[in-house]
Subunit: 221 residues, 2 copies
Amino acid sequence: MTDETNARPKTSDIQRRGLMLVLSSPSGAGKSTIARNILEKDDGLELSVSVTTRERRPSEIDGVHYHFISKREFERLRDSDELLEWAEVHGNLYGSPREPVEKAMAAGRDILFDIDWQGAHQLQEKMPADVVSIFVLPPTMGELMARLHRRAEDDEETIQKRLKNAAHEIGQWRSYDYVIVNDDLNRAFGAVQAIVKAERLRRDRRPGLFDFVEGLLKETI
Amino acid sequence: MTDETNARPKTSDIQRRGLMLVLSSPSGAGKSTIARNILEKDDGLELSVSVTTRERRPSEIDGVHYHFISKREFERLRDSDELLEWAEVHGNLYGSPREPVEKAMAAGRDILFDIDWQGAHQLQEKMPADVVSIFVLPPTMGELMARLHRRAEDDEETIQKRLKNAAHEIGQWRSYDYVIVNDDLNRAFGAVQAIVKAERLRRDRRPGLFDFVEGLLKETI
């Protein structure tokens, strides 16, 4: 073997672009539980923490689940192009701050977006090559309703509003790359893990393969 | 809930088109071992047994690893359009019989093709939507040579011919969907499993999702 061989990048060092994993579903289909699980288990993935004008639920922590901000502050961010995408859902505003995403992507880290179809469409249009989109469906509408009640975080009026919107949200499944029916949380979680693992292996996401193969072919045997 | 709900297909019954999983690599990169492992572990996947004019190795079984046929018989199959793809490698002819593949695909089963880049190109051109292609790279050329010697199935002349051809085969990595560097067999196997699992969840491979979602939205809650 020649000296060049030793300079060749190691397999695990093959340079890769970060991917933008978009997870959408109607409220109560289990999206947030799946997102939390995968963030815990996968060191390479970090959450894009959305800004929102919605009121904080008792279980939520500012800066962890969302950045809770005023409508005025939201409009300032949106109008100065500091949001990658934004949407109005159930009368509240949601958006993904641009800066932390761009920093993470540049460093080759993957970002998880827990957003609705409106935001997903905007990201798909802006960065078609980087977005991997997954839609999570409930096994039945009855199960969706049961989960919203079990969660016990919304009043009955809000639950009814969420159910009404669920049908419309579900109608957006066709614009996603992958569809998962969440009839078993572990299985749904395993499905998302497999998708992330596979998408990281896609040739067109790994510019470092050019160097790796060049090194292979230079090797004198 | 209404009666229609009960007529809705179960999650596990969502109809899916079969996929054609193409696994290519230079000789000795571990492709056949990976293929054997995944065929053993995955009931939904079956091997497309190629026809070949090459001589049978002592470890190979006719009808299992290949259908070993004469050059005359091969030419008859090829000229009567009974091969989905064919190629000449190291002076021998290889091809994939059309009939068993079409039967399996129609029944929604997945097929694994252990073929070279020439065959992969032909399948990708004929069925772009159904082909999922994986290229397996060796970690180093030195390791590739060591594996060919360890296999002890070819004479030195054949090994030298295979090494010469390996460089050309490796140069074809750019036309594959996924690239796996086989520096650890278990990890490489896990990578192929994740790719198969993910590709089966792709929306555009599952026409049954239309019925499933229609059923969801019809459900009275």
